[in-house]
C-alpha cells in the first residue's frame, strides 16, 4: 500500500511525574508510554495488546490529547495534533472518536439516550434540531436498537446495549478514526461476539479506521489487520496479525500467546512460562525492560535498550536476539549444536 497513513505517531512519550514531600518536588517519572512510533492506514484496524500497566490505554488517551503527550508527534490526516490549541483540538475530535470500556461509567445517568447521542452534534454545531433528532434515530437503528430507546436512561439497558450506545455516540459525528479502549472486556462472551460483529459491519459501512486496545489476544486477532504488543510503555513487536500469531518473534509475545488458555482440551501447546510479575513502570529495569523475565537474556539486554526494527515482511521487533550481531551468534550456536548431534 503506497497511500499515506491516516495516523502517524512518532517518538510518543507520556511521563507522569511522581511528586513527594511538602513542596511537591518531582522525584521521578512513571514512564507510561516511552517512545513509541507506529502508523495506521485508512480503513484498517490496528490492535494494541498488552497486560495491565503496559501503557496501552494511556497511548489511546494521548492520541486523543485527553492527556497531553510529554514528547513526540501525532500526525492525523496531514495535520500535526500535538501543536494544536485546545479549541482547534476540540474541532479535530469530530474526526477522532473514542469508545470506552465501561459503557455505564461513560454515559451520563441523568440524560436520556437521545440527549447523549445528540450531544456530539451540538458540540460540533452540526445541523438543526430536526435533523439532529433524525440522525439520533438513524444511528440507534444502525447499532441494532430502536427509535423508542431514545427516551430511556442508561440504567434501563444491559451492558451490551450500553456498549452499542457508546458506539452510536462515537459514530454521530461521522469520524474517520475510532479509538476503542477495551470495548468488549466488560461483556459476557455471547454479547462480546455481537458487539465485535457490529464493529466489523460498521467499519465496512462507514469506511472507519480503528485502533483497538485490548488485553484479550483472541479478540484482538479476530478484529485486527495489524497488531502491536506493548510491554512497560514500549512497543516490543508490531506485525500483521496473521504473522504475529503464527510466528511471534519477541520472547514476550511468545510467552503471552502461549499463556492464553485455548478452548480445546485436545490442543497441546508449547508453553513458554515466564516467571515473576511486571516490574513497576516507575522504576523500569535498565536496557531491555523485559530482561528480568526473559528466558533468552543476554549480557547486552541489561545495558542497551533495543529499538523496534523491521525484521522481515513488515514484522518489526524490539529485541537484541534479532539484531545482526546477536543473530549471527545464535546461528553459530545452532550450527554448533547441530554439529554435536
Amino acid at each position: 500500500m503506497d497511500q499515506k497513513p491516516l495516523l502517524k505517531v512518532e517518538g510518543l512519550k507520556k511521563y507522569f511525574p511522581i511528586k513527594k514531600g511538602l513542596l511537591g518536588r518531582t522525584v521521578g517519572h512513571v514512564k507510561a508510554v516511552d517512545d513509541i512510533s507506529f502508523y495506521v492506514n485508512k480503513g484498517e484496524t490496528l490492535g494494541i495488546v498488552g497486560e495491565s500497566g503496559c501503557g496501552k490505554s494511556t497511548t489511546g488517551r494521548v492520541l486523543m490529547r485527553l492527556l497531553e503527550p510529554t514528547e513526540g508527534t501525532v500526525e492525523f490526516d496531514g495535520k500535526e495534533l500535538t501543536s494544536l490549541s485546545s479549541s482547534e483540538m476540540r474541532k479535530m475530535r469530530r474526526d477522532i472518536q473514542m469508545v470506552f470500556q465501561d459503557p455505564y461509567a461513560s454515559l451520563n445517568p441523568r440524560h436520556t439516550i437521545g440527549k447523549i447521542l445528540e450531544e456530539p452534534l451540538l458540540v460540533h454545531g452540526i445541523s438543526d434540531a430536526k435533523e439532529r433528532k433524525k440522525s439520533v434515530i438513524k444511528f440507534l437503528e444502525i447499532v441494532g436498537l430502536s427509535a423508542f430507546h431514545a427516551k430511556r436512561y442508561p440504567h434501563q439497558f444491559s451492558g451490551g446495549q450500553r456498549q452499542r450506545i457508546g458506539i452510536a455516540r462515537a459514530l454521530m459525528t461521522n469520524p474517520k478514526l475510532i479509538i476503542a479502549d477495551e470495548p468488549v472486556s466488560a461483556l459476557d462472551v455471547s454479547i462480546q461476539a455481537q458487539v465485535l460483529n457490529l464493529m466489523q459491519d460498521l467499519q465496512k459501512e462507514f469506511d472507519l479506521t480503528y485502533i483497538f486496545i485490548a488485553h484479550d489476544l483472541g479478540v484482538v486477532r479476530h478484529i485486527s489487520d495489524r497488531v502491536g504488543v506493548m510491554y512497560l510503555g514500549k512497543m516490543v513487536e508490531l506485525a500483521p496479525s496473521e504473522q504475529l500469531y503464527a510466528t511471534p518473534l519477541h520472547p514476550y509475545t511468545k510467552a503471552l500467546l502461549s499463556a492464553v488458555p485455548v478452548p480445546d482440551p485436545d490442543y497441546v501447546k508449547e508453553q513458554v512460562m515466564i516467571d515473576g510479575d511486571i516490574p513497576s513502570p516507575a522504576n523500569p529495569p535498565s536496557g531491555c525492560t523485559f530482561h528480568t523475565r526473559c528466558p533468552f537474556k543476554m549480557d547486552i539486554c541489561t545495558k542497551v535498550s533495543p529499538q523496534l526494527m523491521e525484521h522481515e515482511n513488515g514484522q518489526s521487533v524490539a529485541c537484541h536476539l534479532y539484531s545482526e550481531q546477536a543473530g549471527n551468534d545464535i546461528e553459530m550456536k545452532e550450527k554448533e549444536m547441530e554439529g554435536s548431534l
Partner: protein
Amino acid sequence: MSERKKVLEVKDLQTTFFTDSGAIPAVDHVDFFVREGEVLGIVGESGCGKSVTSLSVMGLVPKPPGKITGGEILFQGNDLLKKSEREMRYIRGNDIAMIFQEPMTSLNPLFTIGNQMSEAILIHEKKWSKKRARARAVEMLKLVGLPRADELIDEYPHQLSGGMRQRVMIAMALVCDPKVLIADEPTTALDVTIQAQILKLMKELNTRLDTAIMLITHDLGVVAETCERVIVMYAGQVIEEASVKKIFEDPQHPYTKGLIQSVPDMRYKKDRLYSIPGNVPKPGTIKKGCKFAARCEFAFDRCLAEDPALIQTETGHQTRCFLYSEEGVTQDGPKAFVES
C-alpha cells in the same frame, strides 16, 4: 479409570433472593456432584447462578435477602444444610475452602500475611502454639511457590502484586488440607501470564494434595485447560453436564454450542463470529418454558410451554433440552439439527 467416591453432592438445590420486586430464584433446582480429587468446572455468563451456587455450598449466602429454600448439600454423606452455624464454621476452611476473584478484597489490609494465616490455622488447630502455626504458614507459602516466604510472612497485602496475593489466598485456603477447594473466578482479575502461573499451580496442587477443585469461571479456555468435567449453567439451572472432552467435541445444548462458537480463537481467524442473539435474561423473568427458548434458533412450541428436564443422553452426558427428549429425536439425532 476407577470410580472415585463423590465427596460433595448437591441435590435439587434452590437458593432464592427475596427482594422488593419479588422472589428471585438465583439457583433453580441444581444437581451436581464433585468426586474426590477431581477438577470440576462450572461455566456460565454473569447472572447464571454459578457464584450463588458456590456460596450456598459454603453456607455464605447473604441472608436476608438470600435463603436456601430447598434441596440438600451432602458433604461426605452429611447434609450441610442441617448443620448449625457453629458446625459450619468448623467445616469451612477445614473441609471445604474457598478462594475468590479479587484477592485484595479478601485479605485484611491491616494485618500481615502471617497474622492472617496463623489466625486461620489456630481456629482449626486449637492446641497448636503460635510458633507452630507460623511455621506451618511459611511451609504453605513455599508450597504455592512464593519466593522468600520467610520475609513475605511479615509483609502486608498491599506490598504484594495481584498474582502473589492470589497465591497467598490459595496457601491460606489449603492450610488445613481441605477435601474440596471452591475457586470462584480465581484468575479473572489477573493478567494472562500470571493467570497461566496460577492455573499451573492449582493443577499441581490438585495432583499433589488430591484436593478436589470446583472451578467457577466464564472463560472456556480456562475450563478446557484445567477441568476434567464441566457443568454449564444458564439462568440458575444446569443445562448441560459432561466430561471436558465431550463438552468441546460434542456440545449438545444449543446454548453450549453457541457459547463455544462465539469465542474468538487465537489459533485461526474466523471471518465472522457466531453470536447468540438477545441478552442473558435477568433471573426470575422467565416463568414458563425453557429459559433459553427466546434466544434459541431451534426452539419449537414445546420449549415455550414446558420446562425441560435434565436428561441423560449418553453415559456421563446430561442435557436440559427437548431436542434430546424422545419426541425431538429422530434416528439420525435430534430432529432440528438433522433438518438444518
